[in-house]
Symmetry: C2
Subunit: 373 residues, 2 copies
Amino acid sequence: MFGASNFPLAFSVAGGDTASALAAGCPVVVKGHPAHPGTSELVGRAIRSAVAKRSLPEGVFSLLQGTGHELGSTLVAEPHIKAVGFTGSREGGLALVAIAAARPEPIPVYAEMSSVNPVLLFPSALANRGEALATGFISSLTLGSGQFCTNPGVVLALKGLDLDQFITAASKALQAVMPATMLTEGIQQSYDRGVKQLADHGATKLVARASECIGRAQGRGALFQTIGAALMSDASLAHEVFGASSVIVACDSLDEMEEVLRSMEGQLTATLQMDDSDLAAAKRFIPVLEAKVGRILVNGWPTGVEVAHAMVHGGPFPATSVSRATSVGTLAIYRFLRPVCYQAMPQTLLPAELRDDASGSVSRMFDGVMNRA
Amino acid sequence: MFGASNFPLAFSVAGGDTASALAAGCPVVVKGHPAHPGTSELVGRAIRSAVAKRSLPEGVFSLLQGTGHELGSTLVAEPHIKAVGFTGSREGGLALVAIAAARPEPIPVYAEMSSVNPVLLFPSALANRGEALATGFISSLTLGSGQFCTNPGVVLALKGLDLDQFITAASKALQAVMPATMLTEGIQQSYDRGVKQLADHGATKLVARASECIGRAQGRGALFQTIGAALMSDASLAHEVFGASSVIVACDSLDEMEEVLRSMEGQLTATLQMDDSDLAAAKRFIPVLEAKVGRILVNGWPTGVEVAHAMVHGGPFPATSVSRATSVGTLAIYRFLRPVCYQAMPQTLLPAELRDDASGSVSRMFDGVMNRA
């Protein structure tokens, strides 16, 4: 498991990846993220203490720390490692995928990498509550200095007066946001580079920035505007800039909005802001979104990810390297399970849960019907 | 989907791979196997006719035929292809895995490749019914000239008089087996090469061959004997020879038998031949087998693969490239499904099965409990 920079608890040493692998019965080796070595060490010691208290084998959990790529690469290539969990950059994730694929025994790498999480503003919603949408959007965009996998990095809407007013309100809200310290100086420098690229791009217009920043590694939110045709002709406008940066895309029509969406890469989430009278317009987008994202949400913001049975924190490439998996929620355990068929086994050789006299602690299927009886 | 040589119906144009992908809602492109182009064409036309009768889009199914590697390689590299199903050789499967991994968007290759399906003969079973086991084993070994993925290519047992008698009976049974035409001349030549390698190996002894063969592409079953230490020092003795070839491994003790098993690669199946008094001896092997194979069966033979809910026709590498999947049984559909989370969606935008007024045609989970209510 690779700890992520942005969630020192939820996606790091004892986060969901580690929890789901341990729950699946796998020993876990964590490569701590160099952004928070102290937190990693504290959490690692807590796990080691739990392992000792429960008299589990010591090898059930290990924490290794280091700053270069060599440690991580070596771990992924190590024959005893059978699966990899990773949350981070596209570049980092793809490097691990390549190492795993080149092993004599290829193994799965569950890498959650990159997403701009399109938000679709439908006409009635935009007309009826543009200002509230603008402030909600800026809150989501700048939460945690924008350092969320599900940060809303692209907003699609029809051009016109309502969108202009939304942009004005969003700009005003962003300008009032105070600067915030980013996770590391490297992340802040990378963010500044990404913002500069968008600002220098001939097809975009910078419409607002957050307050001036003073101090180290300060993130200063940025909001851009472009048109549908521009995004379709240059996909880099929809590449993730990790931090509070978003591009508002003015589309000529719903047809063009659908085309823009189809041209985009796979995403973790898509958000529909819509009122009842937008239902007909929204309906056509659902099949497109079902093929493009892992989570579709309506009239919320994508930056909250609930740990729940129905959660999917995953999505088509490059959102993740294995689109059939989620790294949040109870389904996350399936990344580390493998089915075994027991055929004509004597009762005493079966796992307790599968014996005729099992207690009903798990659901079982008899003749095609699942039940706990 | 790549058609397999050995199942012109079950693992080819309209086989389980195609069926599970279509059931998952995926359009399917089949690369027909050059061993049965005529059958492929007939089945392909039947599907095309069904597509027309049901007024489905023509693109839902395509069949392409060819003899070289170029067609298959091109298909796996094609950006519109999102997953690959394959049953065939380890070399062929790994070549496709490498092509898929090198794509800008890597995709999963579900390759079922190679397995010798160890059979464990426990002491009481061997003593009580050695002769019946020998004839059952030879029937399974020579079924379809041995051209089954689940063919029993390695037999493990304790050395001694009972094993000697088993070998004598198995040899007699094999010698009585009539020659049978193999699927292609290429497969027969490859089989002969594999048998020759085993025969020339310093650590094996050829104990029996089936009747003399006359005619084209005839497969002549071969039975070898070796010792546990030999197999552990040279893994090639446990490499698949596609056809009716098997190696009986005489072990010094149950400890050595377990060691031999641990030294082997991942397998589709393992078979335990055991009587009640073997239960204690067998129990220690279950955790080893659970980590090594996809299906554990007792007092049967591995060459029958039932299409059923509980079937797992898969297993750890190199049995398959994705050990979490099965290519037979209802679970096979999961290779081609991806979860989508619908959050706060209006009823009319949800799939019919997920609406509040759904008919109960699928199980749904409410607050952690699955039901059809």
